[in-house]
């Protein structure tokens, strides 16, 4: 298991050092600094073995977190733990920075004592932790409170405490998708997928049982078979617009009953209070690609490059895409750039070796174009310019995967509010992930 956990600043100075196992000594702290933080080379692996000691590290801004062990630990677990550790710290004091860590070092030690015991991760749900570890010192708790804390921390529903009350029961669902594309210069889709998240923010009283439904192809098809007569009638009558999507794979927050999903494909859970990421999913079929990029690069002699890029929006004209940014890479020996664009603003950024073209808003089924002349310095570098792909950023108000929320039902048998009394909000946001077109 994890033998020790260290946090360093960018200079390699130790900010936090907690050793859990006897086989990890202080020299391990220095070994990591010398071999990884101060190493000249780029990091070649997130796992480093130095003198039979293994170091797992992640970096958040310029802070290094390193878990150390001498055993054959579960490597995936160690990284998951490090991410979780970052989440917990962020939930307590915001951004992970040297200043914040120094300001909260007592708290961090306290958390590390609680969420890692002898190197075994324990309950790391912020909701539960906040009931008894606070930044403002420890409140004295009544006996009941104490037993409530312990039963929550160790219990089946470790993520939610009993006795939550709201005057207004409300929940917000965000379907956040990032659409990824790799397209060849000829416009052929090399790979495309959507990775999506359903984020739920709930303010519900008691211990509500929730059930979430979406237009999952498997569920819809199954229901189709179940109510064969009426569905068949509906289908023969022209399809009725009940579109469903094929989900390649999905994963759930630990509150979701996985065995139930496996058996019935229904998503039921008691949510943590406040925000949680209910589900992640991935689709590859029938993706709506919101934008198409058509590049045209022409080398005019050895010192000039002509670039023309057309972007086409491909969704309903009534919808508006926002925060559109097209990034056109330029060679390292670029000496000057002239850009003409019909819409938005474009600028050559020498420090980033790219032309950045920004458009605030663009409606569906529109087209826009940029052309640039790039002057090059003559070089005797034999190696050709690698032509990195043109990348795009944007935000659209729909889910490129086609996912629709069908329902989110709430049952709380012990309290007197019903599903109808809960105010529900659903929002869809599609963003660009890695959206690249080779040129």
């Amino acid at each position: 298991m994890i033998g020790g956990l260290f946090i360093y600043n960018h200079k390699g100075e130790v900010l936090i050092s907690r050793v859990y196992r006897d086989d990890i000594g202080r020299n391990a702290v220095d070994a990591f600094r010398v071999n990884v933080i101060h190493a000249r080379q780029q990091v070649r692996s997130p796992v480093t073995n130095i003198a039979r000691t293994s170091f797992f590290h992640v970096k958040r801004s310029n802070i290094w977190l390193a878990a150390v062990t001498k055993q054959n630990v579960n490597a995936a677990m160690v990284f998951e733990f490090l991410y979780k550790m970052c989440d917990v710290m962020t939930a307590y004091f915001g951004k992970i920075s040297e200043e914040n860590i120094k300001n909260n070092f007592v708290l961090i030690y306290e958390l590390l004592d609680e969420i890692l015991d002898f190197g075994y991760p324990q309950n790391s749900e912020t909701g539960a932790l906040k009931t008894f570890i606070t930044q403002t010192g420890i409140k004295s708790q009544s006996k009941e409170e104490q037993s409530q804390i312990t039963s929550q921390v160790t219990g089946q529903i470790g993520w939610r405490r009993e006795g939550i009350k709201y005057r207004r029961n409300e929940l917000f669902l965000d379907v956040l998708e990032s659409v990824n594309l790799l397209m060849s210069p000829q416009g052929q889709v090399l790979s495309a997928h959507v990775s999506g998240r359903v984020v739920m923010k709930s303010y519900l009283s008691g211990m509500p049982e929730c059930k979430f439904g979406m237009n999952d192809k498997i569920v819809i098809d199954k229901q189709g078979k179940g109510g064969a007569s009426e569905e068949a009638a509906g289908k023969s009558g022209g399809g009725g617009g009940k579109q469903s999507i094929a989900i390649d794979d999905c994963t759930f927050h630990q509150c979701v009953r996985l065995s139930k999903f496996d058996a019935e494909r229904s998503i039921s859970f008691i949510p943590p209070d406040g925000e949680c990421e209910l589900m992640r999913y991935r689709t590859t079929k029938d993706i709506i690609l919101p934008f198409r990029v058509i590049p045209l690069v022409r080398e005019v002699g050895r010192t000039k490059l002509e670039v023309k890029v057309v972007i086409k929006s491909n969704f309903k004209p009534s919808l508006l895409a926002q925060k559109i940014e097209v990034r056109i890479p330029t060679p390292l020996n670029t000496s000057g750039v002239q850009v003409i664009c019909m819409k938005g603003k474009a600028k050559y950024k020498a420090s980033e070796n790219a032309i950045v073209w920004k458009i605030k808003r663009m409606a569906g089924m529109k087209e826009s174009q940029i052309s640039a002349e790039i002057e090059l310095l003559p070089t005797n570098d034999k190696k050709k310019w690698a032509r990195p792909p043109i990348s795009m950023n944007f935000e659209v108000p729909f889910a490129p995967s086609g996912l629709k929320v069908r329902y989110l039902k709430v049952f709380e048998p012990k309290l007197n509010y019903s599903d109808h009394d809960v105010i529900k909000w659903v929002r869809y946001i599609g963003r660009s992930g890695i959206y690249e077109t080779r040129c």
Partner: protein, 950 residues
């Protein structure tokens, strides 16, 4: 409030000031001071001088302060054990506190203080806490048992904590169950034989129930523990799989990977024709792909594991090639791993896409990545025949870029393509030769030289090219030197007239001016071949070479099986067994996939049998091909095809052919000189006389050097050597009878064999190979039977052995499986060696160390035996045992009974401690053996018996 100020005190006299503050009456000031101390501790300052003052602050109602003091204690208690005792009372009191959080805190902290006296006081509170009414305390206590076990294993057993821990597996609270499982698994790891976890269908059922209810981390502990279980039959296996599959949808990647591990392992037991088997295969792909959308570090772990899974079960991801395409912004470690998997998944169906990608990658910035991409193109050519032509033209394009490392890498892979498809792409040689000057890496130079030598007849200026390399012969690496030697010999055989001078030059460089034995040996062999029988030389050197295998860089199957059992862990990231990077006994136990049982077995195709298989029969055929490799070496095949494991069956036939060819050549070469005399050393005195005058070189000494390995008879006798017994009767081996024994002579382990030919025909070409075994025994040299063995002839050979071969635990431990080959067939037999030959000469332990070690080894590992009817007195026994490297360290006489304390060290570093009790007048001795690896005790006892009675 800001705590960062505590980091900034660097004044002199700081300790003194802190001391004053710690003893202040004001609570706030005290707390501030303790915070400063902790901050100093964090940055690595030694603040242990403040120990008593900090401990004084422990008695407080302020929980925050208390936690800080505990943190300090955990760090410094070991350096101040006497003072740490001051804290005990507070701990014991806290363990009785009304607040469960404080009870748990106390027991948690106490377990982290590694001071004997504190540990003693821990037992009582721990016992109570294990049965505490509050689950939070119980789950903390469960982990504390593992802590205590790490400090003092004996104490944990004596106090019966293990049983209490086992009871906690049935606890009503899922987190208590999970922590108990984690603790037990850890403890069980250091006692490989104890049945601590005692997994049976009932307990498995409990675990599976808890799996649905506990935290994500608990699920990982339970899944990792489940993976150690071996179901009784395929039905049980299926039902466990069914209950584990829902975990594949968990958001925590570690839960998913651990579930994959369980499924991969248990699938092994399912019959392939079962519907469920297919369903399971389909269910595994999506979650594996999803892992690739995790953060980059986790992606890396996932990719390393997918690499293993793809090798074990390629069908799972065969349609998912695209997800492994490299993204521009992937960190380099992700890129390299993806590339590796892409090649493994490349097939005729997707090769066009893959090649297009690889070509893109070859123009990227990162040198390692580009090299790997170029190499990948070559591997595609070898793997998918239809694509070879396109690959070659892509490689030529890349060579035109003139980027130095791209060119070199391309030449290395083109060499492999030539070997796979001989006489097909030689038209590109001209282009390759243009780049001769830019090659500065040994591998590329060697590859180019090989190409020039191999196709010397088609390259007009081959002699010039090779000559240019010869100028700096001594500065080249061994690889290049060997290649150059062979290439020039090839050239000579193809164009003898104009290159005689060149070949003499290289032979004398290799034999006279080099101190590398490999190079010298090869030089001599060529020299003699050329001087005695050029026709034979041609046959040997220009023999048709076996094709290189298609699958490259595969992990060796037994290692792969073991790694599959370690999915998700560091072992799977390093692609090394845990024993390679974990110290001590932990995790050294080798895990294996379960063998398939139940109904469907008989109908299976043979390949499944091998995958799931038992060790002995399947492992044997792989022995001989690698022997072929050894000889293939002489056939200049040492330009290793990029495979590390034994080549797959299809190429075996070819290699055997090559071997026979060489065997014949060698015989006709050496037969004459030796005249059938078994005393070899003498026969070589005359050797130089046979050399033609044109090659007048002082060969004698060197040749003797080449063949004097067979010596080693007549070493001083000391150790016990069992009598020779028949291992392989003539009936079973087409007339070859082998009997033999093992001996340790002057520190060298030897296998002494008597080979008798009871058949009618002459036997030649003997070779020997061992299967992997418990102590890594392997022949240290070839089997020296140089003369043909005529009918009714007998020859004694002794084969020196090394202990650095591959290791696999055998049953019985000292079992050795041997394959012997001759011109007639390959024969297999197994024999048992006395473990005493592994006892090394420096096995005498210091008395103090002995005492400490004896105490340190748990009593569980002690075994007692009786040696009956032995009439030696203790001194005689001691000196007799000493001859076999069993060293007496101390002797004690208690009431007429002599107690001898002895130590033995095995060649793999395992120590065995023994206590031998000899009662005057009683022919029965009692012996107690203690060892960290108790499996060896039985064998060691047998040795004692054998030594004492002979």
């Amino acid at each position: 409030m800001t705590d960062s100020k505590y980091f900034t005190t660097t004044k002199k006299g700081e300790i003194f000031e802190l001391k004053a503050e710690l003893n202040s009456d004001k609570k706030e000031k005290k707390k501030e001071a303790v915070k400063k101390v902790i901050a100093s501790m964090t940055v690595g300052k030694d603040v242990s001088a403040l120990f008593p003052d900090v401990v004084n602050c422990m008695q407080t109602d302020n929980l925050e302060l208390k936690k800080l003091v505990y943190l300090y204690l955990m760090n410094y208690a070991k350096s101040q054990p006497d003072m740490a005792i001051m804290a005990v009372n507070t701990f014991v009191k806290d363990c009785e506190d009304a607040n469960p959080l404080i009870r748990a805190l106390a027991v948690r902290t106490m377990g982290c203080i590694r001071v004997d006296k504190i540990t003693e006081y821990l037992c009582e509170p721990l016992r109570k806490c294990l049965k505490d009414e509050d689950p939070y305390v119980r789950k903390t206590a469960a982990v504390c048992v593992a802590k205590l076990h790490d400090i003092n294993a004996q104490l944990v057993e004596d106090q019966g904590f293990l049983d209490t821990l086992k009871d906690l597996i049935s606890d009503s609270n899922p987190m208590v169950v999970a922590n108990a499982v984690a603790a037990l698994s850890e403890i069980a790891e250091s006692h490989p034989n104890s049945n601590l976890l005692d997994l049976n269908p009932q307990s498995i059922n409990k675990l599976l129930t808890a799996l649905n209810e506990c935290t994500e981390w608990g699920q990982i502990f339970i899944l990792d523990c489940l993976a150690n279980y071996t179901p009784r039959d395929d039905r049980e296996s299926q039902s466990i799989c069914e209950r584990v599959t829902p975990r594949l949808s968990h958001a925590n990647s570690a839960v998913v990977l651990s579930a994959v591990k369980v499924l991969m392992k248990f699938m092994e037991m399912l019959p392939k024709d079962l519907d469920y088997y297919g369903t399971l295969l389909k269910k595994l792909a999506p979650p594996l792909v999803t892992l690739l959308s995790a953060e980059p570090e986790l992606q890396y772990v996932a990719l390393r594991n997918i690499n293993l899974i793809v090798q074990k079960r390629p069908e799972i991801l065969k349609h998912e090639m695209k997800v492994f395409f490299v993204k521009y912004n992937d960190p380099i470690y992700v890129k390299l791993e993806k590339l590796d998997i892409m090649i493994r998944l490349a097939s005729q169906a997707n090769i066009a896409q893959v090649l297009a990608e690889l070509k893109e990658y070859a123009t990227e910035v990162d040198v390692d990545f580009v090299r790997k991409a170029v190499r990948a193109i070559g591997r595609c050519a070898i793997k998918v025949e239809q694509s070879a032509e396109r690959c070659v033209s892509t490689l030529l394009d890349l060579i035109q870029t003139k980027v130095n490392y791209v060119v070199q890498e391309a030449i290395v892979v083109i060499k492999d393509i030539f070997r796979k498809y001989p006489n097909k792409y030689e038209s590109v040689i001209a282009t390759l030769c243009e780049n001769l000057d830019s090659l500065d890496e040994p591998e590329a130079r060697a590859a180019m030289i090989w190409i020039v030598g191999e196709y010397a007849e088609r390259i007009d200026n081959a002699d010039e090219l090779l000559e240019s390399f010869l100028e700096g012969f001594h500065d080249e690496s061994t690889q290049v030197q060997l290649q150059l030697l062979t290439a020039i010999v090839k050239l000579f055989l193809k164009k003898p007239t104009e290159t005689q001078e060149l070949v003499q030059q290289v032979l004398s460089l290799a034999t006279q001016d080099s101190d590398n034995p490999d190079l010298r040996d090869r030089g001599y062999i060529y020299w003699r071949l050329l001087s005695t029988d050029p026709v034979a030389a041609k046959e040997v050197v220009l023999a048709e070479k076996p094709l290189i295998s298609e699958e490259t860089d595969l992990i060796e199957p037994t290692l792969l099986e073991e790694l599959i059992c370690h999915i998700g862990t560091l072992a799977s990231v390093y692609h090394k067994p845990p024993s390679a990077f974990v110290e001590g006994s932990r995790g050294v136990m080798h895990k294996r996939l379960p063998a398939r049982t139940g109904s469907g077995e008989s109908t299976e195709s043979p390949d499944v049998g091998t995958a799931a298989g038992g060790s002995a029969p399947e492992a044997a055929p792989s022995i001989i091909p690698s022997q072929g490799d050894l000889l293939g070496d002489l056939l200049n095949l040492d330009m290793a095809p990029p495979t590390t494991s034994g080549p797959p069956p299809p190429t075996t036939g070819m290699q055997m052919g090559g071997m026979d060819l060489l065997g014949g050549g060698l015989d006709s070469l050496l037969g004459g000189d030796l005249g059938g005399s078994p005393a070899m050393g003498a026969g070589f005195g005359a050797a130089p006389a046979v050399m033609p005058a044109s090659l007048n070189a002082p060969v004698g000494g060197g040749l003797g050097d080449l063949f004097d390995l067979g010596g080693g008879v007549g070493m001083p006798m000391g150790a016990y050597i069992p009598p020779k017994i028949v291992w392989l009767p003539a009936m079973k081996a087409k007339g070859l009878e082998i009997s033999g024994t093992f001996a340790r002579r002057a520190g060298v382990i030897q296998m002494e064999l008597i080979l008798t030919n009871k058949a009618m025909s002459i036997m030649t070409d003997f070779a020997i190979q061992f299967n992997r075994n418990s102590f890594g025994l392997a022949p240290a040299g070839p089997l020296q039977v140089l003369t043909p063995l005529g009918p009714n002839q007998t020859i004694e050979v002794s084969l020196p052995l090394s202990t650095v071969g591959p290791v696999m635990k055998m049953d019985p431990l000292n079992n050795l499986q041997v394959a012997v080959k001759n011109n007639i067939d390959v024969f297999y037999f197994s024999c048992q060696y006395p473990i005493s030959m592994l006892f090394v000469e420096d096995g005498k332990m210091e008395r103090q160390v002995f005492l400490a070690t004896w105490k340190d080894i748990p009593n569980d590992n002690e075994s007692q035996f009786q040696i009956k009817d032995c009439h030696l007195n203790s001194d005689a026994a001691s000196s007799k045992l000493q001859g076999s490297n069993i060293f007496t360290i101390a002797k004690r006489t208690v009431e007429g009974q002599d107690m001898l304390y002895m130590s033995i060290k095995l060649s793999n570093g395992i120590w065995v401690l023994a206590e031998l009790r000899v009662q005057a007048g009683n022919p029965n001795y009692t012996i107690s053996l203690k060892c960290r690896a108790p499996e060896v005790s039985q064998c060691v006892f047998q040795c004692y018996e054998a030594v004492l009675k002979n």
